[in-house]
Symmetry: C2
Subunit: 224 residues, 2 copies
């Protein structure tokens, strides 16, 4: 079997605008989480459960990134928090300029926690800083336990990994140890040498409290 | 809720090389299928089942595209067919030049069916022609029934949609009618005005025979 290595670099032209966003977030004491993951991993479900649990204690806002439709944003809006939908019209990731534009539609002084749900894509979003406080990836049991190994670029830039749909571990013969072992020390993690791994089910709510505690801990440092 | 529309165009600089590949495939009577889909949708499982079913009647070859690892290629090799692994080292899709390079490692005169398993990504691969005879997307029940609506760029460039993991329809409350209705007439389909939809389970093998018949029908026209 022949293995061909092809050099490629991820485009990074937006770091300056990401830094501007970061300053805006810092000045307004907003804790911003960039939520990434494959299509259908459960990003919106996680946000809905998080809003349900923390919506009383924190003022939450959401930016929804999708190629098309405002389906997810409508779900978030129905949960009673301010939401801005970005339709990328084909683009495979959000970038810092899209976020900068979206921010003009929020009153940031009234937001504690801002979630940015990125386009469903386990590759491209990892390469684009948005000015966020933390990056997480939602990975789901049906995708298989080999995802950290096969998509290292994503799993190495995040502060936390949410392994979702753990109510289906047996159905898929998913090896949690294999998955965890392949989540390697993150090169860019803000908080720890290795991403935290939270095993959750947004359906049964199992494990969500640990994720919420993590969010309250890190968000609480930033929010006033 | 504010909706922001951001113009973006998918990069297409590789069409000339794709045309070169297409001529090479035509001259060698090779039917080439570009297999796309989200991470974990079941692309490799589909190829393994297809090789198992058709390996006696067709000479099959596989190009495996991954960001990292040769895990899938090893599975294919174990099934007894020639395979070339392309590691894109971060790139989110295969392009025509990668395929042109990989082809030098095959004896195309001895190949009838060539499968190209693209990087797991429901966005970017749709924008890059490889010179293939047909494009398919593998979409899986756990991803949700809203994927054709949310990722129209992919579902509109394919000739066939393989809805995989249908043994789990009930577990996920998946609405097959919703899914099918949102698979709209393809702008670029080679064979029909609307992509064919095959409901399959690579685990139970349900529905696979219809997919195999489709492959034999279209592949049989090309292969000698």
């Amino acid at each position: 079997m022949k293995v061909i290595e092809i050099a490629a670099s991820v485009l990074k032209g937006n770091d300056r605008i990401a830094d501007e966003n970061r300053i805006v977030f810092r000045d307004n004491h907003v804790f911003v989480v960039n939520v990434m993951g494959s299509p259908g991993a459960g990003k919106t479900s996680l946000l809905l459960k998080t809003i349900e649990a923390l919506g009383q204690g924190f003022n939450i806002g959401v930016i929804e990134g999708d190629i098309a439709t405002s389906h997810d944003a409508e779900l978030i809006q129905a949960a009673g928090v301010p939401v801005v939908q970005i339709n990328t019209q084909g683009a495979c990731h959000l970038d810092a300029m899209m976020i900068k534009t979206a921010l003009t539609h929020f009153d940031l002084a009234k937001i504690d926690l801002l979630f940015i749900e990125n386009v469903g894509n386990l590759v491209c979003p990892a390469g684009f800083r948005l000015g966020e406080s933390a990056r997480i990836v939602v990975s789901s049991v049906p995708e298989g336990d080999d995802k950290p190994k096969k998509y290292p670029g994503m799993f190495r830039v995040v502060d936390a990994v949410l392994l979702n749909k753990i109510d289906l571990l047996d159905v898929f013969g998913f090896n949690t140890n294999t998955f965890k072992e392949d989540v390697l020390p993150a090169g860019f993690s803000s908080f720890s040498s290795k991403p935290e791994i939270f095993e959750v089910s947004c359906k049964t709510e199992k494990g969500l409290s640990v994720w919420l505690d993590w969010l309250k801990k890190h968000g609480g440092v930033v929010c006033r």
